[in-house]
């Protein structure tokens, strides 16, 4: 479907109570462009990524003795970690990200996580998404509360890629989601004017299902045309192959073109490596290769907007220091959090390192946590998105920021 046709469709489909943004998308967008505003993208790795094999503590003898078959070798050796500093190295599958490290726009916070000791994927993800560890009854996600604090009026303020709205973005502020993969710009029966007109009459109310319908129409009208244009003109370089890279390109393109979008969310699964996770090569390496490619694609697609964007990569908890009986790792505690972006004080691994000696481990088995994951997000919200303390209390209730900020942004 061509863009013009799309706009016509949308114009005809607009009901009286629709959140109207106007059909002259291009012109309006040019006016609305605010080149100084800051954005945030969260990439959630569902299933608990093995952070000790992402940012490898190669200065720790116990790292190698605890992981006889899955340790990443020392930098300089075959398949070795990429040296970050005297103590840490990066998994070799993440080589595409090294230029960002060298340009100091990539940083890590190690031994980071949720203070809740839960080793359940689902509870731990819930806490990282609702922003209140230990409390399941919080109705909304912290990114939705953030959207309210940013004072965003547009229903395009936050976008996630996927068929459902993630917990982290759910709440009273409207958010848009777009399908993953090639489906994203496929013409659909609801684009037909007569069909859209009929459904718009049906969904005029204010109940959740009415709102979801209205937001869906609005997002489709405003965003898909942009993506169509992007995909039919020549892409710079070969199109990415991985599913994450494809989603990342769509999200990056949209945020580069449309300044109404302030928040983005992507999720990637498949990190629950209980069996044969491999070392420099294998299951985890393949996963990381796809992730590295996805992040590099996202940075490339954002273009100049990368300078005013922070990308956070997080996962619900880390994995056991010792490999298990099947060349994998079980559910652990502390993990590594990643930050990318023009304002990130990169080229450094942050966070007090608790060590891997037996007496230093959490419950005799896991990397201890020395930095609350909210300390990192709090830094991004304060230093990057420039929110006030009163906003932070709403976004992270029951939380007190440390007196000495990390300095990562």
């Amino acid at each position: 479907m061509r863009r013009r046709q799309f706009l016509q469709t949308a114009a005809l489909g607009t009901g009286a109570t629709m959140i109207t943004i106007g059909t002259q998308g291009w012109a309006l967008r040019a006016q609305a462009l605010v080149p100084t505003q800051q954005n945030l993208i969260v990439v959630f790795l569902r299933g608990a990524v093995d952070g000790l094999n992402v940012v490898v503590p190669h200065g720790e003898p116990n790292y190698f003795s605890s992981r006889p078959t899955i340790a990443i070798p020392q930098p300089g050796q075959a398949g070795g970690a990429l040296n970050l500093d005297s103590h840490f190295g990066l998994h070799p599958a993440l080589a595409p990200l090294m230029p960002l490290w060298q340009h100091k726009t990539l940083a890590f916070v190690h031994a980071c996580g949720s203070p809740d000791p839960n080793r359940s994927h689902f509870e731990a993800q819930e806490y990282m998404e609702n922003g209140t560890p230990g409390i399941t009854s919080t109705p909304d996600g912290w990114m939705n509360r953030l959207l309210a604090s940013l004072g965003v009026k547009s229903p395009l303020g936050a976008i996630s890629i996927g068929a459902t709205t993630p917990r982290i973005l759910s709440g009273r502020m409207p958010v848009a989601n777009l399908p993953s993969g090639k489906m994203i710009a496929r013409p659909l029966p609801v684009d037909r004017p007569a069909v859209a007109a009929a459904f718009s009459k049906l969904y005029q109310g204010t109940s959740p299902i009415d709102q979801a319908y209205q937001e869906g129409v609005s997002a489709r009208r405003d965003l898909i045309g942009d993506l169509e244009a992007e995909m039919t003109t020549a892409n710079n370089g070969a199109p990415p192959v991985g599913a994450l890279a494809s989603d990342a390109r769509h999200l990056g393109d949209l945020m580069a073109q449309d300044s109404r979008i302030r928040l983005g969310f992507l999720a990637a699964g498949g990190w629950d490596t209980h069996v044969r996770q491999g070392a420099s090569q294998g299951l985890l390496a393949d996963q990381l290769k796809g992730l590295g490619e996805g992040l590099a694609t996202l940075v490339q697609a954002l273009g100049p907007v990368y300078q005013r964007t922070t990308i956070l990569v997080m996962s619900e908890f880390g994995r056991t220091v010792h490999e298990n009986g099947n060349g994998g790792t079980d559910h652990g505690h502390g993990n590594v959090m990643w930050l990318l972006g023009g304002r990130v004080q990169g080229g450094k691994v942050y966070g007090p390192w608790p060590g891997l000696e037996p007496e230093q481990l959490y419950q005799d088995r896991d990397l201890a946590i020395t930095t609350d994951f909210r300390d990192v997000i709090d830094q991004v919200l304060t230093a990057h998105l420039e929110l006030r303390p009163s906003d932070l209390r709403v976004i992270f209730p029951h939380y007190t920021a440390p007196s000495q900020p990390l300095g990562v942004v």
Binding site: R119, A163, T164, T165, P174, V190, A194, A212, G327, D330
Partner: protein
């Protein structure tokens, strides 16, 4: 006088053991029948409303609670018998459809490999066909509803290893026979099934000091031990510790899969217990001493888990959420937990109590559950009343809506709440689906008749929807019905 009458009515209600008609006194008979079809079946087919009202509410409930007494149509039985994947054991499936065995010193033939792969893919797709055929046509609807419930409770993922080959067997031998039976039996059947053993890695779980520890069978894997407590039985706050997870993992050592070339004729299930990889030490699990004895340790642990009040509460909460409301009333959950414990985990007794509870019949909960993509697509197939040959097209629609059948990667299964499924993108996809299907797109054959849809759904259509329908050209009216809130909630 009025007070006395009200009191007498109250006493009468109790004497009648909460007869559904009395509990839903404010609802019309048609609304009562529709509520039952919405919750105890996968949605009304043409004629279902009339048939239920003729049969009577209580008779319908009791019949559905005993599916073995409901005759299957001959054509359905015939079709299911021809789906090999539903009728052979996991060991046979692996031997016949697994990767071709390599002969030593010979290079694998790529053409043979590809042919085997396609052959296996075709075989694996039979599970989805068998599942959806029964969802669409089986008169044992409550059984099918419970298969959907248990499939998510005891989730396995088709994309991991060879699980795709075992789904037909998993559903037909582990889940369906126990779907309305005893929870303890269901727990055992899933614990022994290769699909679960492989999905949560317990087939590798080995005592590192045991004589059988070698190769990939080198040590403890706590994946299944954790999830069986967190997801299958006690629930995440069910009172177990990390030490209990590790202990249960030790109890489960050696509980796994048979080798491929296993020629024992007696048991073709694919489950084998390997004592040579088991930890025979005495253990303390959930505060109780379990002497090292091998397979009996697992049975004792499963007994303890199935009989626990935490499990009773967890299962009751999930059933109440599935059948009544996203946030189920605590009174109902407590009531069902008591029935679960008093009846030793008899699932049909718990459901019987649920279907006779005041909460189930409270009209505020009628039509308040937002359908999952599975429920939405299947109910659309059913309401159409059309014969459907290629059910894999319907499976494809579920995939587009974010809920591929057997495609949930994390072990907690798909949720059934509005919060999980209602989103702007979901609405766009559902309305496109509703438009295409109402115009007769495959797997349907012809455009749907709005008058027939209205008859099938009874008085559930709201006045607002009826108004919009009246103001819409006839060729779009059926799309409006399938795409209405009235049809997306059940």
């Amino acid at each position: 006088m009025a007070k006395i009458l009200a009191f007498l009515l109250f006493v009468l209600t109790i004497l009648l053991n909460y007869a559904p008609e009395a509990l839903a006194a404010t609802a019309t008979p048609e609304a009562v029948a529709l509520h039952l079809l919405n919750r105890l079946s996968l949605g009304p087919r043409p004629g279902d409303l009339e048939a239920l009202q003729a049969q009577g509410v209580e008779a319908y409930i009791q019949t559905q609670l005993s599916p073995q007494h409901i005759a299957q149509p001959a054509a359905l039985t015939q079709e299911l018998s021809q789906l090999t994947a539903l009728n052979i054991t996991p060991l046979e499936a692996f031997q016949q459809y697994g990767p071709p065995l390599r002969t030593k010193g010979q290079k694998p033939d790529p053409a043979a490999f590809k042919a085997a792969h396609l052959h296996a893919r075709d075989f694996a797709s039979q599970a989805a066909t068998g599942h959806l055929r029964q969802a669409l046509e089986s008169p044992r609807q409550l059984e099918q509803v419970m298969v959907d419930f248990w499939l998510n409770h005891f989730n396995v993922y088709a994309g991991k290893g060879f699980i795709g080959l075992w789904l037909g067997s998993y559903e037909e031998t582990a889940l369906r026979p126990h779907a309305l039976g005893r929870f303890r039996d269901l727990l055992e059947a899933t614990a022994r099934h290769p699909a679960m053993l492989f999905y949560l890695d317990n087939w590798l779980n080995t005592d590192p000091g045991s004589p059988g520890a070698h190769g990939i069978f080198k040590g403890i894997n706590e994946n299944y031990a954790r999830e069986i407590m967190e997801l299958h039985t006690l629930g995440v706050n069910g009172g177990y510790t990390q030490a209990d997870v590790i202990t249960l993992a030790h109890i489960l050592t050696g509980w796994g899969l048979c080798p491929r070339q296993d020629h024992r004729p007696a048991d073709r299930s694919g489950f084998c217990f390997d004592p040579r990889r088991h930890d025979f030490s005495t253990k303390t699990f959930l505060g109780r001493k379990i002497p090292g004895s091998g397979i009996a340790e697992v049975e004792q642990a499963l007994d303890m888990l199935a009989a626990s009040p935490a499990t009773a509460h967890h299962i009751s909460y999930q059933l109440a959420q599935y059948f009544v409301a996203d946030t189920p009333p605590a009174s109902l959950v407590n009531h069902l937990s008591q029935v679960y414990l008093a009846r030793q985990g008899d699932i049909s007794a718990v459901l019987d109590a649920l279907f006779h509870s005041q909460e189930f019949w409270d009209p505020q909960y009628f039509g308040n559950k937002f359908k999952t993509p599975y429920q939405y697509v299947v109910s659309a197939l059913r309401v159409s009343g059309q014969p459907v040959e290629n059910l894999l097209i319907a499976a494809g629609e579920m995939r587009v809506m974010g809920m591929p059948l057997y495609g949930c990667l994390p072990p907690d299964g798909y949720k059934n709440t509005q919060r999980a499924w209602l989103s702007p993108e979901a609405m766009t996809m559902r309305l496109s689906f509703a438009t295409a299907w109402s115009q007769g797109r495959p797997p349907l054959h012809s455009a749907l008749d709005p008058g027939q849809l209205t008859n099938t759904l009874g008085d559930s259509l709201s006045p607002h929807l009826r108004q919009v329908i009246a103001a819409t050209p006839p060729h779009l009216q059926a799309a409006l019905i399938l795409g209405s809130p009235d049809f997306m909630y059940h």
